[in-house]
Amino acid sequence: MSLPLHAGTENCVGPEKGEVTPAFEKQADELVSRYPVSKRSAVLPLLHLWQETFGYIGPRGVEWIARKLSLQEIQVLELVTFYPWFRQKPYGKFHFRVCRTLPCALGGAGKTFAALQKLMNLKEIGHGGTMVSEDGRFSLEYSECLASCGTAPVVLCNDAFHEKVDDNKAATLVAECK
């Protein structure tokens, strides 16, 4: 089974690479044109676009978007740090989100998380941050409710959804990540 990748996640490893192509610029301009009253409103769509294209939003992304919308960099950075969806560092090629909202937590999300962490050989970084494996293959974080409480615990791997993930299923999932 090959897992569907989140668009462009293959770019996530290493520095914020990839050129800003004319096509990308055109896409960005189209997004900006949707907000004729205040182009500042386009900042969130542009952040999504940047992350989908380049994998994460580093200083280059913040500065490019700020320039595009005539904003100060800090105004873009505020948003990047506010929303957990936006990431400032590259994630692994396979990014796992383990739900830890109450039903999943009761259903053993902690155990699943620990199993995944061990299988991926990830070091603890504390404070619920995202762990990334040294080879950039895997990354793992907790997430809030993924809306499938009846089949807890649930895991999202890139865009693929997995239900009732116990230790065995976790091992299968990790093994399938090639």
Binding site: P59, Q72, E73, I74, Q75, L77, E78, T81, F82
Partner: protein, 570 residues
């Protein structure tokens, strides 16, 4: 206040009513009164001599309503079936009180509104807000510079409880963050009111600051790699209600409750920002802006604010000097004044040139004007000191009182002065009296020309190339050390007040000039600055009818001021 125009430097003026005569009835703590339409509840309470505590609200910045400290109890008139207010036994409308509190900063008054600023609910709310704000606060008041003027401290005493119920660990945040050249940030003290962010963005139009992260981890920061070096950055330390932003220049120097506060003027450029001088035991520790909507609102530039360290410069002149055998030696005032008078008497009036100064007060200039009139000296001018105009507060005129000098006829804007170099060289000018510490070498008269003068008398606060050539050096007083009046570039007459004595034997310049006048012409009727003012008001048309008291703390716009420049250039 009857000002309906927005001050151009403030995007908001919540404390200024659009129309002071358009009134609505409101009830504040049980008392019915009339207040201008459009004011918010914090300002209405203020005018009703009540106080609603607040952190994030600032009358000159946009309203964000994020501190929740200004919660009050609000009511609206009860309406009968006929849609008319139901009147109570006292004939006043009965008020239906809302069960939930509202924020005063973001609530404008409406007709018949009831406002309670001290009910049990309000007190409870304030208590709760204070407890929340203090949850992560480090409580390091003993080492915090804001202590003594900290709103968190004041409101804790006034509205908080003595103890916290919070037993968990406080959130750790960055401390001692070097935000910029002049500002240090302590993120743990920050209560996230965002006044500094709004000041940078709305008043300075230069966003560098912002909040990153979320929830209890929200942190004030400058964009990585950028520093908060705005020319007005220190105003954020003023408006910061807590000790998060502090001035590098002032921090750890002096406890604020020891400071003597003197209302005065900034003398660093022609704008004449109103300031408060904070001094203790003869030493100035800080300058802070003093509100004057006609001049500087509540702001001042960092340059002016920090431009007081010259008062303690090692080049400060603190006793009279006389030159003998090519060297300057300390002397007594009596001898110095006598020597100055004697040497001046030896040359003809038309061989004397006087460099007055746009740094002198009107009173000093007036004593000088009298002296020159009595002597018959006509060669007088000032040195122009170009400033760095920035379209906000800083003026292109580096002298604080150029307009005063023009108005008293002692300045041609530096045009006459241009010819003096040649006239000194040709021997037409034999004596030069330099006032206000002007450095003529820097102003373009070569030092070897000055050395040829028979008489060179210098008065000022700092030694410079010109003072070193002088036969008589008369040490004067700096802006914080003298009382007088000045006229700013917009023609506003304002008062400057002495905060500290001049160091050593240095004297206020008007006294030096008075003594010189006594020694030269014997004339004296001026015993105090007020005396000088009275004589001046009698003689100078623009000042006529104005008394020292009338100028007041905020100054007076001179009606004929706009003409002054034309008269000079004519």
């Amino acid at each position: 206040m009857n000002c309906c125009e927005k001050h151009p430097m403030n995007p908001w003026n919540h404390d200024v009513a659009k129309d002071e005569k358009d009134l609505v009835d409101v009830q504040v703590d049980g008392v019915w009164m009339q207040m201008p339409r459009g004011l918010n509840v914090v300002e209405v309470a203020h005018r009703a001599k009540k106080f609603i505590p607040h952190y994030c609200y600032h009358p000159k910045l946009s309203v964000v309503g994020n501190c929740r400290m200004c919660l009050f109890e609000m009511g609206t008139p009860k309406m009968g079936p006929d849609r008319k207010p139901i009147l109570g036994a006292d004939g006043k409308p009965e008020i239906a009180w809302m069960p939930r509190p509202q924020i005063g900063c973001a609530t404008n008054i409406t007709p018949g509104m009831g406002i309670r600023t001290d009910s049990a609910l309000v007190k409870d709310c304030r208590n709760g807000v204070m407890e929340f704000l203090l949850i992560n606060h480090p409580l390091d008041c003993p080492i915090c510079d804001q202590a003594g003027e900290c709103k968190l401290q004041e409101y804790s005493v006034e509205y908080g409880t003595g103890a916290s119920r919070f037993v968990e660990n406080k959130v750790k945040k960055p401390k001692n963050v070097d935000l910029g050249e002049r500002i240090v940030l302590d993120d743990e003290r920050c209560i996230l009111c965002s006044r500094c962010i709004r000041f940078s963005s709305e008043v300075m139009k230069d966003d560098v600051l912002g909040f990153v992260n979320r929830g209890s981890h929200s942190t004030l920061t400058a964009y990585p790699g950028k520093s908060f070096d705005n020319a007005y950055s220190l105003n954020t330390a003023d408006i910061c209600p807590v000790g998060a932003l502090t001035s590098k220049d002032f921090r750890f120097q002096m406890r604020v409750w020891f400071l003597k506060e003197t209302k005065s003027l900034c003398a660093s450029c022609g704008t004449g920002c109103n300031i408060t001088i904070g001094s203790r035991e003869g030493k100035v520790h800080r300058l802070t802006p003093r509100e004057n909507e006609s001049v500087n609102s509540q702001w001042m530039c960092d340059f002016g604010r920090l431009n007081f360290h010259d008062l303690e410069s090692k080049n400060r002149l603190d006793r009279p000097l006389l030159k003998a055998a090519g060297q300057q030696f300390p002397a007594t005032w009596t001898n110095a004044i006598q020597r100055a008078a004697d040497t001046l008497k030896k040359v003809k009036p038309d061989e004397i040139a006087v460099v007055a100064s746009g740094r002198l007060t009107n009173e000093e200039l007036f004593v000088l004007k009298r002296l020159l009139g009595e002597l018959g000296v006509t060669r007088v001018d000032t040195v122009m000191n170009p400033g760095q105009a920035d379209n906000f507060l800083r003026s292109g005129d580096g002298n604080p009182n150029s307009r005063g000098a023009e108005l008293l006829g002692l300045s041609s804007g530096g045009r006459k002065l241009g010819a003096w170099g040649g006239e000194i060289a040709s021997g037409k000018i034999k004596a030069l009296l330099v006032l206000g510490g002007e450095d003529l070498v820097a102003a373009g008269i070569p030092a070897d020309s000055l050395a040829k003068l028979e008489v060179l008398i210098f008065s000022g606060i700092l030694s410079n190339a010109t003072s070193q050539l002088a036969q008589v050096v008369l040490p004067g007083a700096a802006f914080a050390e003298k009382t007088g009046s000045m006229v700013n570039v917009h023609g506003r007459l304002q008062r400057m007040t002495r905060a500290i004595p001049a160091p050593g034997e240095a004297r206020e310049d008007w006294m030096i000039l008075r003594d010189l006048r006594i020694a030269l012409t014997g004339g004296n009727s001026l015993h105090s600055v007020e005396d000088v003012w009275k004589s001046m008001a009698g003689e100078v048309a623009q000042f006529s009818g104005l008394s020292w008291a009338k100028i007041g703390d905020l100054g007076i716009q001179l009606e004929s001021a706009p003409k002054i420049r034309e008269e000079v250039s004519a």
